[in-house]
Structure formats: C-alpha cells, structure tokens
Symmetry: C2
Subunit: 191 residues, 2 copies
Amino acid sequence: MTQLPNTFFRRLATPIDLLESPGPSDQQLDSVICASANVPDHGNLKPWRIHVIDKAEQKTLSELRLKIYKIKYPNREESIYQAEGKKFLRSPTLLIVKSAVNIESSIPVAEQILSGGAFCQNLLLGFNAIGFGAKWVTGWPAYDSEFLAQLNLKTPNQLLAFIHIGTPKKNIYADKKITAKEIIEDFPSKR
Amino acid sequence: MTQLPNTFFRRLATPIDLLESPGPSDQQLDSVICASANVPDHGNLKPWRIHVIDKAEQKTLSELRLKIYKIKYPNREESIYQAEGKKFLRSPTLLIVKSAVNIESSIPVAEQILSGGAFCQNLLLGFNAIGFGAKWVTGWPAYDSEFLAQLNLKTPNQLLAFIHIGTPKKNIYADKKITAKEIIEDFPSKR
C-alpha cells in the first residue's frame, strides 16, 4: 500500500542571509499567492492579507523597526542596533502575512487564524516549488502593538508571518525526523 | 519564468458523507503524520498531538458529543439529536489534531498554534497524495470546555481540527478562484 515518503514536505529553508537576488517576479508572486490561498476557509471569508515588501519598502519598514526598538531597549550597544536595523533587509523579497478576521461572521476567530497558518505553509511550499528559498519568521515586531498599528493591524488580528524569499545560494533543507510515537496519543478512554 | 499553476494546492475535499472504507492503514497514517510534521516550528517544540479515532472510538466520542449536546440544547427534535449523534461516525478514520503548547518556552503561544495550522494543511495534502479524501472540520465540540476536558485539553491549547479521512466515492476538489488583488494590500506607507 502506498505510503508517503518522509521527505514529501521537505522545505527549502535556506537561511535568510543566503537568500540572494533575484526574488520572485510580480507574476511569480501572484501565481504562488493565488495558488496558496486554496486552503480550508470555512465560510469562504478569505481572512488573510499580504503586503509584498520590496527593497524600497524594506528600508521604510526597517527604519520603523529600529525606531521602536530603540525606544523599547535604550542604551544598547551600537552594533546591536545595527543588526536590528538590517533584519528586514536580508532577502530580495519580504512578505508580511496577516490575518483579516471577519468578526461579524459566525466562524470562530481561532479558525480564521488557523486558516492563515495553512496559507503560510502553502506559501513556503509554493515558493519552493518554483525554485525559491522561503523562511517564515516572526520576532518581536510581530507582537508589538506600535509596530502593528503602522500596519493597521488590531486585535483580534495577528501578524502571522514575515516570509523572506530569495534565490538560495545553497540548497539547505529543513529536515525533521519525527516519529509517530512523539505525536500520536492514545484516546483518553483507553487510559 | 516558472509560475505556479493555480491548481497546485488543489485539495481532494470530497464531502464527508462520500468518504468510504477503507481509510488509511496504520502504516499509511504513520507515514502521512510523520511527513506532515515537517512544518515551521520555532524552537523545535513539536507543539501538536493527534488522536487517531477508529470506529470503536468514534462511537465512544459520539456518545460523549450527544450527551453534552442534549444538555446544551434540551427539547430539540429527536431527528436533530440523531443527526448530531452521527457526526463523528461519517468516515472510516477520524483524526483529532490538537495543540500541545509549551508555555514555558519563549516561543509565543500564537506561533505554536499557527505551527499547528501548518501541520493540518500538510495532513490534508499528504492524505490526498496517497489517494484519500480528507476534510478539516470543527463545529461546537472544538470550542466546548466540557468536551475538551475529556480530551485533557485546557487553555491555551486548542482543538485545531477534526480531520475526516476515507476513500472518496467521487473525486470532488476544493477549487477556489482567488485573484491576487483580493489578498495583496499595498504597504500602508504607499497610501
């Protein structure tokens, strides 16, 4: 009987600093984003939005990031501020994926957010499928109310992911060896 | 330049009532579950668990579901109770996917939950890849504290999905036509 190879969902998760130009073209971005949106989405709410952050916008966003960081963490060494200011500049293309929850719908918010998690996973696999490395990261800005306000993002919405995309200098895969035992639990009634 | 076909993430989302026996074998379940666990999981926490609910356990779980439902919604028509009591019995195999958040970790809970959304998406695609139909559903039990207590599930954990799996009587695909315009938003600085 057919089984699924352990490498079926292997991801091209080359570290961000090894993601070089070119990033995906506008057409490639559109094709991956549209295909990836085919996720379970109860009520067909499409409760997710994407900002495509090109190089110029990466600079604007980096300045914002650093400004807030300096207020949050004054008196750090200059080298730390420099590193912080470069975080959004490390790849040719940066996506911000955020939820766009419909709070008037009967579909629970938690479920709309999870649809976004599914969407992000498709995005990674989709960019990989056309040869790009893609890394899903978060970090403090994903949870910082001032940063999020600049993206017009308010509770119950979440910044789901920063996804860095580029041409991998080397192919480095995310490989996890997980056994079924670690994940599958007996049904409580059996215990 | 390579683009991603719109059907790349097409899912075999045959309605649950058309999912027949056989469901996946134990080996097939293990192979799909292990492969699907290869998702972004910051800190390598593996913050998700699965119960595989076979036919006998589906009966136990259905009785529990109906018992709680009758207390929540007394005085409904008998036909409604009958339908409710069958919800978990509709496919050969039922998975319960739940989060298993590590609250002592520095990784935010929201991020651990999203990793679970990515995992569920892989599960759907994985079962499809070996010929099974798979449907991700929730419904009231996913949010009912009494039902969740029976699964030892407490806040901040969530029941992420009930996934019904079986051999599709007909191949019915989830096809969404989504345009990039609906999802991609300009960066706020542009407005």
